[in-house]
Amino acid sequence: MTSSDIPEGSQALDSHTVVGQTLASSAATRPPLVTQLHDWVTTVDHKRVGLLYLMMSLMFMVFGGIEALIIRVQLWTANNTLVEAETFNQLFTMHGTTMIFFVVMPMIAGFANFLVPLMIGARDVAFPRLNALGFWLSLMGGCTLYLSYFTGKGLLGGGSAPDVGWFAYAPLTSPAYSVGSSTDYWIVGTAISGIGTIAFAVNTIATIVTMRAPGMLISKVPLFVWMMLITSFMILLAFPPLTAAQVMLLMDRHMGAHFFDTQAGGSALLWQHLFWFFGHPEVYILALPAFGIISEIVPVFSRKVIFGYASVAMSSAAIGVIGSSVWAHHMFTVGMSDSLDAFFSATSFLIAVPTGIKVLNWTATLYGGQLRLRTPMLFALGFLGMFLMGGLTGIMLAAVPVDWQISDSYFLVGHFHYVLFGGSLFALMGGVYYWFPKATGRMLDDRLGKLNFWLQFIGFNLLFGPMHISGILGMPRRVYTYQPGQGWEIWNQISTVGGFIMGLAFLTLFWNLAKSLRSGKPAGDDPWDAWTLEWMTSSPPAAYNFEEIPTVRSRRPLWDLKHPEDPDWKHE
C-alpha cells in the first residue's frame, strides 16, 4: 500500500494541517488569531466541522440548562411566583426544543463527523462542503429560534419566545391562539436545522457506503459506524414528514390554508400523526448513536471483544424498522380506535426485544472482562443502568390502560429523561471523555471526570427519579405551579436539589474541558489501548487523517497490528 492516493485538493488543506499540529509543536508556529478563526469558519475538514457541531451543542446546552433550572426553581414550592404561566410555557417549550434539536442532535452529528471517516480509514467525508452547509444550517436554525427572544412579537412588540410546547400541537399553533411570530420562529428554526440534518444524513450514508478502507467490509466496520448508518436512514425517513408538516403549518398561519384547522374540515390529529412520525423515530435517532458509543467504550474498557457484533448491528436495524411504526403510542389519550391502540401498543412492546438484546450484548461483554473504571467507562455503566430504567418505564407506558392513567403526568417526564438524558446524554458524555484525547491531543483530567460523573449520576437520579412518584401522585406535566396539600412538594424539592447538583456536574465538565485543553496530560496516539482505526493516527489527526490508507482484515484492525502473532482475522 502506498500513499500515492492522497486526495485531490490536499494543497487546499495545508493551512489546516499547520493549525492542527500547533498543539503538538511549539506555539511559535501558530498563525494569527484572526487567521485561526477564519480557518474555523471556512473549514470543510470533517474533524473541524465535527468539533464545531460539538461546540454548538455545548453552547445550547447552557441555554437549555438554564431554562431547566428556572423551571425547577419555579416548582420548588406550591403557588410559587418566580415566573408567570406565560413565561413558564415559553421556558418548557424552549428547553425541549433546544435540547432535542440543538443539543443532542448536533452532538450526535459532531461525533459522527469527527469519527466516521477516521473509523473507516477515509481521508474525509464524501461531500465536505455539503457537510459544512449542514452544520451552518443547524447553527442558523438554533439562532433563529433564539432570535424570538428579541423579535418574537413583531418588529415593534419586543421579544416573546415560542410557548406551544416542543411538539407544537394544533390548534395552539393556529393564528387565533398564537398571535405574533414566536411560533413562526419555532417552525422556521427547526425546519432549517432539519434540512441541515438531512444533508448530514445524505453525507454520512455516502461516506459509509463508498469510502471504507480496503478490506473493511460492511460486516467489519466499528459498531458506531453501523449505528450511524442506521440512524442516517432513519433521519431520511423521519425528517421529511416533519418538514412537510411544518410547511403545512406555515401555510395555515400565513396563507389561510386549513390543514390543522378543525373548524374548516382540517385535522388537528394530522399534526400529531405527522409530528410523531418524526418524533418517535427521532428518539431512536438520538439513541442509536449512543448505542454505538457504548459499543465502542465497553469492549475497550473490559478488554474483550464485543459480545455478538452481528446481533448488535442487526437488532439496531430491527429497531430502525420497528421504531418507524410505533409513533402513535404518543397518542393513546387522543381517542384513536381500539385496533390502532392495540397495534401501536404491540409494536411498542415488540421494540423492547431488540433493545433488550443489546443490553444483553453489553452486559455479556462486561462479564468476565478486566474492567478499567476510567471516566468513559463510568459513563458507559451509568448509561446501562439509566437506560434500562427508561426502557422499563417505557414498557409500562406502552400498555394502553397504564398510559391513559399517567400520560402527560410527571411520570412521563421522568421516563423520557431517563431515555434521552440517562441514555443518550450519558453515553455522549462518555464519548466526550473517550475521544477528547484524540481530538485535542490531551487527556481530560480523570479525577475531575469522576467527580463530574458522580455529581451527574447522583444529581440525575435525584432530579428525575422522584418525577415518577409525583407523576403517579397525579402531578400533570407543564403546569406552572400547583396547590399545596397534594404531597407533591417534597418530590419537587428533591428534583430541584438534583437539578442544581447536575448544574454543578456540568460546571465540572466545562472546567475540565477548559483546564485540560490548556494543560492536560499529552495523550499520545492511543491512550486507551484501543482497537479501532481512529487510534492509529496522531492525536489530533492531521488534516488528511492517515499518511497511508490502512488495510483492514478484521473488526479490530489495531489489535491485529499490535498482536501479529494472534490476529483477529484468524478467528472471525
Binding site: 450514508i205 457506503v209 463508498t210 467490509l217 421529511p240 414528514p241 412537510a244 386549513h258 374540515g265
Partner: protein
C-alpha cells in the same frame, strides 16, 4: 499500516477477490443522490397522505369532482411522461460525448417541462377564477394547491438545473466523465414518478 505484511493483493485474495470497500459499486455522488431522492420521495408521500386524509372532508364546494378536469391531467401527462425519455436520450448523448445531441435532448426536455407548467398554469387559472377554488377556500384547495405547487416547483428547479448543465457543458466546464447529467435524470424521473402518483390519487381515485 506499518507492519506492511498485509498488502491489498493479499487481502483481496482472502476475501475471494471481492472489492470489499464498496459493496454497491456506486460512486459517492450516486449514493448521495439516491439518499437525497429517498428523502424527497418521503416528503411527497407525506403531502399525498395529507391529500388522501382530506378527501371528501371539504365543508363547502368546490369539490374535486366539481372542479378537476381529467383532460388537463392527461394533456399534462403527455408533456411530462415523454420528458423522461428525452432526458434519457440526453444522458446517453452525453455519455457518448455528443455535445450537440446532449444540448438538443436537454432543450427538448425543458420544452416539455414548459408545456407541463403551461398546462398547470391554465388549470390553476380555471380553478381560481372560474371555480373560485383557492388555498383558503376549503381543505381540498389547501391540500391540492400544496401538493401540485410543490410538484411544479420541483419541475421548475429541474429545468433550471438542466439549463445550467447545458450552459456548463457548452462552455467546456464539465468533464466528459461527469455524473451530473445522470444524477439530474434520476431527479427528473422521480419528479415524473411523483406526477404519476398524483394523477392516480388526485385525478383518478379521488375524482
Amino acid at each position: 499500516m506499518s507492519s506492511g505484511a498485509t498488502g491489498v493483493a493479499e487481502v483481496a485474495k482472502t476475501l475471494d477477490g471481492i472489492d470489499c470497500r464498496n459493496e454497491t459499486g456506486w460512486t459517492a455522488a450516486k449514493v448521495g443522490m439516491a439518499a437525497f431522492l429517498f428523502s424527497e420521495a418521503v416528503f411527497f408521500t407525506t403531502l399525498l397522505i395529507g391529500y388522501i386524509t382530506f378527501l371528501g372532508a371539504e365543508m363547502s364546494g368546490p369539490t374535486p369532482g366539481q372542479s378537476l378536469n381529467l383532460e388537463i391531467a392527461i394533456i399534462n401527462s403527455v408533456f411530462l411522461i415523454p420528458s423522461s425519455f428525452t432526458m434519457m436520450l440526453a444522458v446517453r448523448a452525453f455519455g457518448r460525448g455528443k455535445l450537440g445531441g446532449f444540448t438538443f435532448w436537454m432543450f427538448a426536455t425543458i420544452a416539455l417541462g414548459i408545456g407541463f407548467l403551461g398546462g398547470t398554469a391554465y388549470e390553476w387559472r380555471e380553478l381560481i377564477w372560474v371555480d373560485g377554488l383557492t388555498i383558503s377556500r376549503n381543505v381540498f384547495g389547501t391540500t391540492y394547491f400544496t401538493l401540485i405547487g410543490f410538484h411544479a416547483t420541483h419541475v421548475t428547479v429541474g429545468m433550471l438545473l438542466m439549463a445550467m448543465l447545458v450552459w456548463r457543458a457548452r462552455r467546456g466546464q464539465m468533464s466528459a466523465k461527469s455524473e451530473a447529467p445522470e444524477l439530474l435524470s434520476w431527479y427528473w424521473h422521480l419528479v415524473d414518478t411523483v406526477w404519476l402518483a398524483i394523477v392516480l390519487v388526485v385525478y383518478v381515485l379521488g375524482h
